[in-house]
């Protein structure tokens, strides 16, 4: 992990003046205090001040801003609500931050074709509300859904709690209007569920982390809203018994809408913080939800409760109504807040492993925590193998920071060793760019780099993200993640 700290470099005033003539003078921010407040996203210990901030009011203005940036060689970083967890919208190289928040209209909800068309700055929860009012459903529900934007969700291919049954953002994007790095506007995709014409450019744009284009319109797929939902909470003596329950549920051919776990450390913290009656010596807690037709949801819930008991659950609580469901779900909802309060700095991880390896991964995280004398609580999505080891530390303690970096690296390497991936839903960004080459063969990395270079030859969009800085650079080449950190530190001092 790296902590970029670059000098405050204001953008040349000629360029700012031209930006002002495009978006209006009040929508270009250049005061140091303004710029400072766009130097971060939700990623721990990452900050880099932009050269300026531009707030376009329309898609046309975005296209003009990008054209100008491309012509004058000033890099741009797209930013929605700044809730990303991989440093994706942290502006390196004194880039100009381009905020999409003003483009926040839901343009269409097409009930006949089951689609919605939105602008990139629409808040995810607002889309949920709008479509659910019509009995429809947009399933992706990242933890920050009340704050984050659809544009950011598409750029990071955001996941959420419903991933196992309903998939992630990628599975819902049907079309995109995008401003390319040269300022051209391109539309890709459409309302046809079946469409096999040409290369699927839409899919390479989803999860491109702001490196290939800026979305100005997003067409998403909707599904009917499930009629009912059943919620259960099971308390287990060990992580193994919880994992065995997950395996048994899948073996029973049930795909629950939610299947979330908390490890022992997390359970202890949640109980200490919220006092909701969880036994603090519990090895793990599972939150399970089934949804769909009332009879089916109820039957699945019953089966899951039975399976949990068979696998040795100490206690299984089934919610009788909505308010009880909210109460049970609060155990999971409190996980992150409860952990975050323990120490000043919260480093959130999101590796993913095949479901069958989840226990091994959680166990290894526990060992890594012990080895480096760190507090790590783990919770996450048991159904899809995506977990959130959360390292709790104090960034003012250099030795703890050093141990955190080591643990972080070991967690990622362990996930890869177990056949997993380095990020399940937060993206590579800055946080994990040094690990990408451990996951992909050189051929794949080369292809990705070439693709990016062909789309953005001048390196205008989100420079420094996803890949390690190009090895073509002068000076020393980074040999490993740690080494690249030391190089960066050298640059800093």
């Amino acid at each position: 992990m790296i902590e970029p700290k670059e000098p405050l470099m204001p953008v040349a005033s000629v360029i700012l003046d031209r930006m002002r003539s495009i978006v209006g003078p009040s929508n270009v921010l250049s005061d140091p205090a303004e710029r400072l407040s766009y130097s971060y996203d939700a990623t721990a210990m990452m900050k880099s001040t932009p050269g300026a901030v531009v707030i376009p009011q329309s898609a046309e203005q975005i296209a003009q801003v990008v054209t100008l940036a491309n012509e004058s060689g000033v890099p741009l970083v797209t930013r929605g609500s700044g809730t990303g967890l991989s440093g994706g919208s942290v502006p390196l190289q004194s880039s100009i931050v381009l905020s999409t928040l003003r483009l926040n209209r839901i343009l269409e909800i097409d009930e006949e074709n089951l689609t919605a068309t939105v602008e990139p700055g629409v808040i995810t929860a607002n889309l949920h509300q709008a479509v659910e009012a019509r009995g429809l459903f947009y399933p992706p529900d990242p933890g920050s859904m009340k704050v984050c934007t659809l544009g950011g969700n598409v750029a990071e291919n955001a996941g959420g709690l419903r991933g196992l049954k309903y998939g992630v953002t990628r599975d819902y994007v049907m079309g995109l209007e995008v401003v390319l790095p040269n300022g051209q506007v391109m539309w890709t995709g459409g309302k046809c569920p079946k469409d096999v014409a040409g290369y699927d450019l839409r899919q390479i744009l989803v999860g491109s982390e702001g490196t290939l284009g800026i979305f100005t319109k997003i067409l998403v797929k909707l599904v009917p809203k499930p009629q009912s939902k059943k919620t259960l909470l099971a308390i287990f003596p060990t992580m193994e018994s919880a994992a065995a329950t997950v395996a048994a549920i899948i073996a029973e051919k049930i795909i629950p809408a939610t299947l979330e776990f908390l490890d022992q450390t997390t359970v202890e913290c949640v109980e200490g913080f919220a006092g909701i009656g969880l036994p603090t010596d519990a090895g793990a807690v599972l939150l399970m939800e089934s949804d769909g037709h009332p009879a089916q949801a109820a039957e699945q819930a019953e089966t899951m409760a039975r399976l949990a008991r068979e696998q040795g659950a100490r206690e299984v609580q089934v919610a009788r109504d909505e308010s009880e469901a909210v109460k049970l779900a609060s155990a999971r909802r409190m996980a992150f807040p409860a952990l975050a309060r323990m120490r000043p700095t919260t480093v959130l991880e999101d590796v993913s492993v095949p479901r069958s390896r989840l226990v091994r991964m959680v166990t290894r995280v526990g060992q890594i925590a012990k080895k480096h004398n760190l507090m790590i609580g783990t919770f996450g999505h048991a159904g899809d193998g995506n977990l959130h080891p959360t390292i709790l530390m104090d960034e003012r303690d250099p030795d703890e920071v050093r141990r955190m970096h080591l643990a972080f690296e070991e967690i990622v390497e362990t996930a890869l060793e177990l056949g997993g991936t380095l990020t399940g839903e937060h993206g590579v960004g800055l946080l994990k760019r040094d690990f990408l080459e451990k996951y992909f063969p050189t051929t794949a990395i080369d292809m990705m780099r070439k693709f990016r270079a062909s789309m953005d030859p001048n390196g205008i969009l989100n420079p420094g993200k996803m890949f390690q800085p190009a090895p073509r650079r002068e000076g020393e080449l980074p040999r490993s993640a740690e080494h690249s950190l030391s190089i960066l530190e050298g640059l800093r001092s």
């Binding site: 400072l36 407040s37 809730t83």
Partner: protein, 435 residues
């Protein structure tokens, strides 16, 4: 090197506790209005941290502007997963700015500026002004001034001030309430009643209703005649030393009286007094006293629930909604008990949309930031009118003035009342001996 003065600097631990997750953004009224990161709690904390880390100067005009533009409504505190105590950070940052500003003023300006705050440090002075204002209103002078059209020519907030103020009562609550009041029957609890400075002068009816309701529910009341201000106005304006002086006085006032609880009907004061332990944590003498004191401080709704108050025998035939005062809902986490009271008062309780969104009153914000305040007020009035309720319950003096003013501007017949006044009326309507 930190850009803050060492004394009363925003606490670094709290600054670091902010994970920048952004959960506060959709709850922040100023962020919703401007869409600018610096006008959000996360942005403001980032600016404080930048000053703390020496990356931004305390003198930066935008820093001062943001600290002043914040309503201090603390909606962000309710939303914060990491439990950042934003209220304390804001007060400390304002204290820093105040200190910095004052150090550059000539002595007479300093005196002049602290004059307004002197009012709240010297209760007789405030009462004198209160009386003068009351006479001004009652002797027809107000009408005369209004007729001259002078008010229309003043800049908006000043001209509107008279409208916002409402009509002052002839007698203050401190003139009407004796120092000790005993209930008829068994004593359930001994309760110290804080009359407040502004509440006493402008809301005698609310204070007296509070006293009657508590007496009726078996509370023995201790009402010290010479009460001062709790320090909320000082703390809010970044005058922490001034706030501490008042906090010590308040603790002394009730410490020897043997009360079980100290009760308030003003959300802002209650929030401030519950924070005394933090305010005085470095005080060698009062630090510990404050710890014990805050445990006894209760909002009137909390206390009514605690002593299991008697529900009125008949519910009123009126539709009722309830506005959460920021310092009650976000500051003290008191949300359910006032709603419970409303439900006990009326069969037709209607939940208000965005009930815990700031009405724009925010201390003196409606005077210092008139336009923003009015924008927020209009939204609040829209939501209140959308419920179709006849009465809106409001448990804070600032919000009461603001919302009454907003309703009047719209020519609405909806009344804004403190829930405890409604309870008092309900008891009285039952007939029989009361209080």
């Amino acid at each position: 090197m930190s850009g803050f003065h060492p004394q009363d600097a925003p606490e670094e631990d709290q600054l670091l506790n902010c994970m920048r997750c952004g959960m506060c953004l959709p709850t922040c009224p100023t962020f919703q209005l401007t869409g600018r990161e610096r006008s959000s709690p996360r942005g403001r904390i980032a600016l404080m941290k930048a000053v703390n880390d020496g990356e931004l100067e305390l003198e930066s005009p935008l820093f001062a502007q943001e600290m002043s533009d914040c309503l201090g409504c603390m909606a962000c505190v309710s939303a914060c997963p990491a439990g950042v105590q934003y209220g304390g950070l804001l007060e400390a940052a304002r204290d820093q700015l105040q200190r910095e500003r004052e150090s550059k003023l000539p002595w007479w300006r300093k005196r002049l500026e602290s004059l307004a705050f002197l009012l709240f440090e010297r209760p007789p002075l405030l009462k004198l002004i209160g009386k003068a204002l009351m006479l001004y209103q009652r002797l027809g002078l107000e009408q005369m001034v209004r007729r001259t059209g002078i008010l229309k020519r003043l800049p908006a907030p000043l001209g509107e001030l008279q409208e916002m103020l409402g009509r002052l009562p002839v007698r203050f609550s401190s003139q009407n309430l004796p120092p000790i009041l005993a209930p008829r029957g068994e004593v359930k609890a001994t309760v110290g009643l804080v009359l407040g400075c502004v509440m006493d002068v402008m809301f005698a009816q609310e204070n007296e209703a509070t006293a009657r309701v508590l007496l009726h529910n078996g509370c023995r009341l201790v009402v010290p005649p010479s009460q001062g201000c709790c320090g909320a106005l000082h703390a809010h304006a970044g005058r922490l030393e001034g706030a501490r002086v008042l906090a010590r006085q308040m603790i002394d006032l009730f410490e020897s009286s043997g009360v079980d609880y100290v009760v308030l009907n003003s959300a802002g004061c209650g929030n401030c007094m519950k924070d005394y332990a933090h305010l005085l944590h470095e005080d060698p003498v009062y630090g510990e006293k404050a710890q014990a004191f805050v445990g006894r401080v209760k909002d009137i709704h909390e206390l009514l629930e605690l002593i299991d108050y008697r529900k009125p025998t008949q519910r009123k035939a009126l539709s009722l909604t309830y506005h959460d005062a920021c310092h009650l809902a976000h500051g003290q986490g008191v949300r359910q008990s006032p709603r419970g009271l409303c439900a006990a008062l009326s069969d037709d309780y209607r939940e208000l949309a965005q009930a815990d969104r700031c009405c724009g009153s925010a201390g003196t914000y409606n005077v210092t930031h008139f336009e923003t305040s009015m924008e927020l007020l209009e939204g609040k009035i829209d939501d209140i009118l959308a419920t179709g309720a006849q009465v809106v319950g409001v448990a804070n003096p600032g919000c009461l003035l603001q919302i009454r003013y907003g309703l009047k501007r719209r020519g609405s017949s909806v009344a804004a009342e403190h829930p405890v006044v409604l309870l008092d009326e309900a008891y009285r309507d039952e007939g029989g001996v009361y209080p």
